[in-house]
């Protein structure tokens, strides 16, 4: 436990060594010194892992951080190499990135955009991070992405599901591997129609903020296209903890499906409440009443406990996937930490590797070069099958998983089972439908 040399701006490292004992100070501006923000000139490169460490998503953040630490280990040639073994691109050598040892700094987003930006700025300004990654909500992702665009570093989003991140708020320096509301809707609808029929009446409870709106919209559009009717959509405050007054009137409305467009604590509580009301034991319109949760995460499933059993939802990735990449990742992560990784961990790990690979292929840390290498990059072997990083909006297109709460879990991690792997083609959409402007890449400096 003695290495982990806390670096600062690479510029300085050489400067400091050369300048030691030199009396005459040198004044320089960032512009004249480097070609782009935080250009690493020493023997190492610093990445910034910005995850929620306090606040309600702290556990998710902890899992993201584990994934990043694993990724750094693999990039530096440690461990079993992880997904570098199965990744279709073979640019990574296990000798760091472009031969520079990978080091990292961590920060706490607190799941607040202000705190997340403060933390990201400190990584960029103080620690000389050349890439920022992580996060567990769309508010934070959009805020930090905009910051990275201004500062001239690459942002590799963590868990963010809103259409906005690569839609109306997309930025040239930002990239998202995670899927979004639209894809959830598109993937879920056919499965719901198969299982519950096309003659269904849905009641939506929607978290009253951007992500809730887009998710409701996506699920609504795609289920209505299958023939479902939307009876009502009621918005619930983010700060709501007891959803009983929203759930109680559901049966009266004549709906036979309840869609919970909720995330995190909201979802855990609304689902728990809905199951408590015994909705799933009811027969409405001669059909079994059903509940749908468009976006699942393992931590949410864990928080809701047995209430998730038999409930459909979508997820970005799940450890029970049987492709080579997923198996390899579960192996590496599980061996190191003793339990299977979450989807947040998977996305973060993959994002770190994708960045490193793009740098290798571009031969430079310059965000514009990296961005170019990532745009329209097609790869495989990272789980989720063949994947495309679309150039127009920097959104990844890959298979989306439709999952269901498992009836007989064997462990506290075995809560979801994969029902369907929806192929990429079904969830692909036109890049222009959400508006927004990607802009030009900004190398800073």
């Amino acid at each position: 436990m003695s290495k982990m040399n806390l670096t600062r701006r690479g510029v300085l490292k050489t400067g400091a060594i050369a300048g030691a004992g030199v009396a005459a100070p040198t004044i320089f501006t960032a512009q004249s010194a480097a070609a782009f923000t935080n250009e690493p000139t020493g023997s190492s490169v610093t990445l910034g892992f910005n995850v929620p460490q306090s606040g309600p998503y702290a556990d998710e953040g902890a899992d993201e951080l584990r994934a990043y630490e694993l990724a750094v280990e693999h990039l530096n040639g440690g461990g079993d190499g992880g997904l570098m073994n199965t990744f279709s691109s073979k640019a990574l050598q296990g000798n760091g990135i472009l031969g520079k040892k990978v080091e990292y700094v961590t920060g706490d987003t607190q799941t607040k955009s202000d705190a997340a930006r403060a933390s990201a700025r400190s990584m960029i300004e103080k620690d000389g991070a050349v890439m920022i990654t992580g996060g567990s909500s769309s508010g934070v992702a959009v805020a930090v992405q905009a910051l990275c665009q201004e500062a001239g570093v690459i942002f590799m989003a963590g868990l963010t599901h809103s259409n906005d991140t690569t839609g109306k708020d997309k930025k040239a320096n930002g990239f998202r591997h995670f899927f979004n509301s639209y894809m959830s809707g598109a993937a879920l609808a056919p499965i719901l129609a198969n299982n519950y029929g096309t003659d269904r009446r849905a009641y939506h409870l929607t978290a009253d903020y951007n992500w809730g709106y887009t998710t409701e919209e996506a699920v609504r559009t795609s289920t209505e296209a299958m023939g479902w009717e939307t009876v009502a959509a009621v918005k619930t405050p983010l700060t709501q903890t007891d959803f009983s007054s929203y759930i109680a009137p559901v049966l009266q409305s004549g709906a036979d499906v309840l869609v919970l467009n909720h995330y995190g604590g909201n979802m855990v509580n609304s689902l728990t409440n809905a199951v408590q009301f015994g909705l799933r034991d009811k027969l409405v319109n001669d059909k079994n009443f059903e509940i749908v949760v468009p976006l699942y995460s393992r931590l949410m499933a864990k928080g809701a406990g047995a209430n998730v059993k038999g409930i459909f939802g979508s997820t970005n990735w799940h450890w029970s996937l049987q492709d080579e990449g997923s198996k390899q990742f579960v192996q590496s992560f599980g061996t190191k930490y003793g339990f299977p990784p979450s989807q947040a961990a998977h996305t973060c790990y993959v994002q770190a590797l994708l960045y490193a690979d793009a740098v290798e292929r571009a031969g430079s840390f310059n965000p514009c070069a990296v961005g170019e290498a990532l745009s329209d990059f097609e790869f495989d072997g990272m789980g989720n099958g063949p994947t495309l990083y679309r150039g127009e909006d920097h959104q990844c297109f890959k298979d989306v998983l439709v999952v269901k709460g498992k009836e007989n879990p064997t462990s506290e991690f075995d809560l979801l089972e994969i029902v369907e792997v929806t192929p990429t083609s079904q969830v692909t959409y036109d890049a222009s439908i959400f508006g927004g402007e990607l802009g030009a890449c900004n190398p800073g400096a």
């Binding site: 007891d242 009983s244 007054s245 929203y246 009137p249 009301f277 015994g278 406990g305 579960v330």
Partner: protein, 343 residues
């Protein structure tokens, strides 16, 4: 009509949680004159008593099951609770299933102890300090308590279900002659309501009919005189703090099946419970209970989609709007005594 009945029912149920928390807050304010911002944290600790007990009951040893594989392909390690070894699997399962009700017994001594320790160790030094100082020190304490809980239990909510016997819901609609399924209500929430009623009734009876209660009530009205009578009111007040903590804790224990407990559930309730206390009237126990139910019902009505269509976002602000209106028109709250913390 049935929609209205449903929301009243709902409001009563929500209100019972608010009323329980506000009752404890008011006990402390009324007897000790202390504004306790850590009261929400006591509620949260109560909930974690249930989590802790349920974990204690499930302390396990592992048995390797060669027939099953874990996620890495190794033989599965099956956790077997010791309680199975003692009582056999069937009885053991029942005990684990009933963890939440059993926690009541566990939580009472724990909460009283925490309450007494808090009062003796911290609060008592703040009786003569301004309200602002009391608010601040208890706020600091609330942060510390919730961070400690977070450190040991993580930030994620922990599911703590009710016993199987209480699963599902009761169909009031069918019972009252409406269409079936129009007015359903979960059994556990009915239990919670009944439980809250019993606790509230118990506290009132205790204050009304016991000598201890009479002295405390006298002390609430006029501390100095009671002290002049040679009664050690301080000791009784300490016990009152323990009682208030126990009320908050029990409210928390019984709340766990309704919402999975997490470390910040106390803070979520804190602002709201203060609004309840202020609306009811600082220092008025019946006021706290009344305001709890009233705000619960108003909140329920504000969440109806028929209302939201007219007033989008009203569900976001209803509680605060009511607080502002009450404070401006009737500053001592619904049932507050004149002159208690008034201008």
């Amino acid at each position: 009509m049935d929609a209205i009945i449903l929301q009243i029912l709902n409001g009563l149920d929500k209100g019972s949680a608010y009323a329980l928390i506000a009752l404890g807050l008011t006990l402390i304010f009324g007897t000790l004159g202390v504004v306790n911002f850590a009261h929400g944290a006591l509620f949260m600790i109560g909930a974690f008593c249930a989590v802790t007990l349920s974990r204690l009951l499930q302390i396990s040893h592992t048995v390797i099951d060669e027939t099953q594989k874990d996620f890495l392909g190794n033989p599965l390690q099956v956790e077997v609770p010791y309680i199975y070894d003692i009582f056999g699997q069937a009885t053991g399962d029942v005990i684990i299933d009933w963890a939440v009700p059993i926690s009541i017994l566990f939580a009472i001594p724990v909460m009283v102890l925490i309450g007494v320790a808090m009062e003796r160790g911290l609060i008592k030094h703040f009786y003569s300090r301004p309200h602002a100082d009391q608010i601040l020190v208890t706020f600091g304490l609330a942060i510390v308590l919730q961070e400690i809980i977070k450190y040991y239990y993580g930030a994620n909510p922990i599911p703590t279900p009710a016993p199987d016997a209480f699963k599902g819901s009761f169909d009031f609609g069918a019972a009252l002659g409406f269409d079936p399924n129009t007015i359903i209500y979960p059994y556990w929430r009915l239990v919670y309501f009944a439980f809250a009623a019993i606790i509230i009734g118990g506290v009132f009876a205790f204050l009304q009919f016991t000598t201890f209660g009479m002295v405390v009530r006298a002390g609430m009205a006029d501390r100095e005189t009671v002290q002049l009578l040679g009664i050690n009111i301080d000791k009784r007040f300490t016990l009152m703090f323990g009682l208030a903590a126990a009320v908050a804790g029990l409210a928390g224990v019984m709340y766990t099946p309704i919402n999975s407990p997490n470390y910040h559930m106390g803070m979520d309730f804190l602002v709201l419970s203060f609004v309840v206390v202020v609306v009811g009237g600082m220092g008025s126990l019946p006021g706290a209970v009344l305001a709890g139910f009233l705000l619960g019902i108003l909140e329920s009505f504000a969440s109806m989609r028929e209302v939201l269509e007219f007033l989008p976002g009203i569900n976001q602000i209803i509680i605060y709007l009511v607080a502002i209106i009450i404070l401006l028109t009737r500053p001592r709250g619904l049932m507050g005594r004149k002159g208690v913390m008034e201008d």
